[in-house]
């Protein structure tokens, strides 16, 4: 007995674990840790690239530039609006579809595959598709003006700020439902059926069962989805880049499209872009931590 325990403890600090660990750690460190640290450093400098360029230390000046920049603030507003609308809605729709699919006997796999189709379709492809549908002469305007006759003039969906953001939100929700469906389906299938048996013996109806048994049982998944989707929402680049390119006049920029524009189109503002990136990362971290705190506190109640 003693020898087994001893063996166990020596294996716990087995040096061979480092052989398993180090290649992966080196890889992640090189391609992510290093750039993050480098970016943090850059954000305090008037960074220049090129041969023998000297970068000046400017302290927090880049951060001041970002925070006083009208477009950066608008981009942040757009991103937050996108996150606040798309995250809860795609979770609700996804959970609803998951509950429906979990309760049927036939075709459940076919439905699952079909609902997942938008998720495995590239953002570039679906953004182009939405651009086509929401075009001035597109399918939607045709239906609204000539078929349903609810509006007289075609709506310039992609040419004003909020209507374009609205299209981006629709796209985000439409594409995200399938992912939520799969995640919630996995969670629903792991809720012990005894819970439902007990509940129906107690006379709870379907709706009560959903609120008193299903929702509390899948709380972990809800938190997981909330965090992952919020990260994803702040990570939005492709849909906006393809739908509007941030136009008209930077009205529809999100943080990453604006950062990209500043980096490659307005050359020489590397420090600004780095500061913007750090701010984006800080905001996402803050949101994530806040979610964890609020939701784990609720769990205790």
């Amino acid at each position: 007995m003693i020898s087994i325990v001893k063996k166990k403890s020596t294996r716990k600090t087995d040096w061979r674990v480092y052989i398993l660990l180090i290649p992966g750690l080196l890889f992640v460190a090189t391609f992510t840790f290093y750039p993050i640290v480098k970016m943090l450093v850059m954000s305090f400098f008037n960074w220049r690239i090129g041969y023998q360029q000297v970068s000046d230390f400017v302290g927090l000046a880049n951060y001041k530039d970002v925070l006083s920049d009208q477009i950066a603030r608008r981009a942040l507003m757009n991103t937050v609006a996108y996150a606040v609308v798309t995250v809860p809605l795609q979770m609700i729709f996804g959970l609803f579809v998951a509950v429906l699919i979990n309760g049927i006997k036939k075709f459940s796999i076919s439905f699952r595959l079909a609902y997942y189709l938008p998720v495995i379709t590239s953002w570039v492809v679906v953004a182009l598709l939405f651009r086509y549908i929401f075009n001035n002469q597109g399918l939607l305007n045709y239906f609204l003006t000539d078929v349903l006759k609810v509006v007289n003039e075609p709506i310039g969906w992609l040419s004003t700020r909020w209507s374009a953001i609205f299209v981006a939100m629709l796209l985000g929700i439409w594409k995200g439902i399938g992912w939520n469906m799969v995640i919630f389906l996995a969670a629903l299938q792991s809720v012990p059926k005894e819970y439902y048996e007990a509940a129906s013996l107690d006379g709870l109806n379907n709706r009560q069962q959903f609120f008193y048994i299903t929702l509390p049982s899948i709380r972990g998944t809800i938190l997981f989805a909330l965090v992952m989707l919020s990260i994803g929402a702040f990570n939005t680049y492709t849909p906006i880049a393809v739908l509007t390119g941030g136009n008209p006049a930077h009205q529809t920029e999100v943080v990453l499209t604006w950062m990209y524009f500043q980096t490659f189109n307005a050359m020489g503002k590397m420090g600004y872009s780095a500061a913007l990136s750090i701010i984006i990362a800080a905001v996402i971290m803050l949101v994530t931590v806040l979610m964890f705190i609020t939701l784990s506190r609720k769990k205790e109640d």
Partner: protein, 294 residues
Amino acid sequence: MGGEERNMPVYLKNKHKISLSMSIRYLLLTAGLFITVMPMFYMLISSLRDNKSTFSYPPKLFTSLDKMTFENFGYILNNGNFYRYFTNTLFVAFMTVLISAVISSLLAYSFARFRFPGKNILYSMIISVMVIPGLAMIIPQFEMAVKFNLVDNLWGVILFYSAWVTPFSTFLLKGYIEDNIPKELDEAIYMDGGSVFTVYRHVMIPMASPAIAAVSILNFLFPFEELGWSQTILKSDEIRTLPVAITMFFQAHNRTDWGYVFAMTGLSMIPVIIFYLLLQKYFISGLSSGSIKG
């Protein structure tokens, strides 16, 4: 799937209620399906119509069978570098899947099973990378790419993609290993004189394969949709991946040749759909534990 029936809520077994609640479920699901699939159907139809008619007004939702044509597909396959874009993207996708599967399974195994100094700090560092958008690190990454000669090189996207997707894959795999692979299996291997490598090869890899399949589906899709980084470092035409190529094609064609664009996007979807269909049976079981634990 037997699992679904087993987990069916009890009220469904109550025969009197089945027919009505069931038909409502099917009705709602079919209505939802209409919304989900309609845009995709429209894309398919538009790719099968004469390119000139895709930008004419009024737009048509349906097309008669005799007016359908594969002209757009012919144009895409015969003009330009579509085969190159296609094979480039496939190569990047397979490499990204492979590298991230190896690295994240090694990391997940180490973090799930061993104690070593700095473990918690290292793990939280890897997890917090998940929070930072890959594109947000673009400036230092671009400098690195220049230094390592990775600009205009497919390895420039492969290495960075693998690094970006590794934290999430590690997170899911670690959760799966902790929840679904009994420690007794490791013990048995050690009793037989096996090493950590034996455990990795003969326990972790086979037992965690559903989770590896699930993360591979997600990672395979990544090169088919990532635009920001790929358009930054893949400069010459013959080295481009599909997201860049499609975007460039769209812009170069005055944003009007929708028939060609949709033929291109339709073709680009085929590998992802096949990959998904091949692995989909593992998808739910593989995702479950990591996401349920939260």
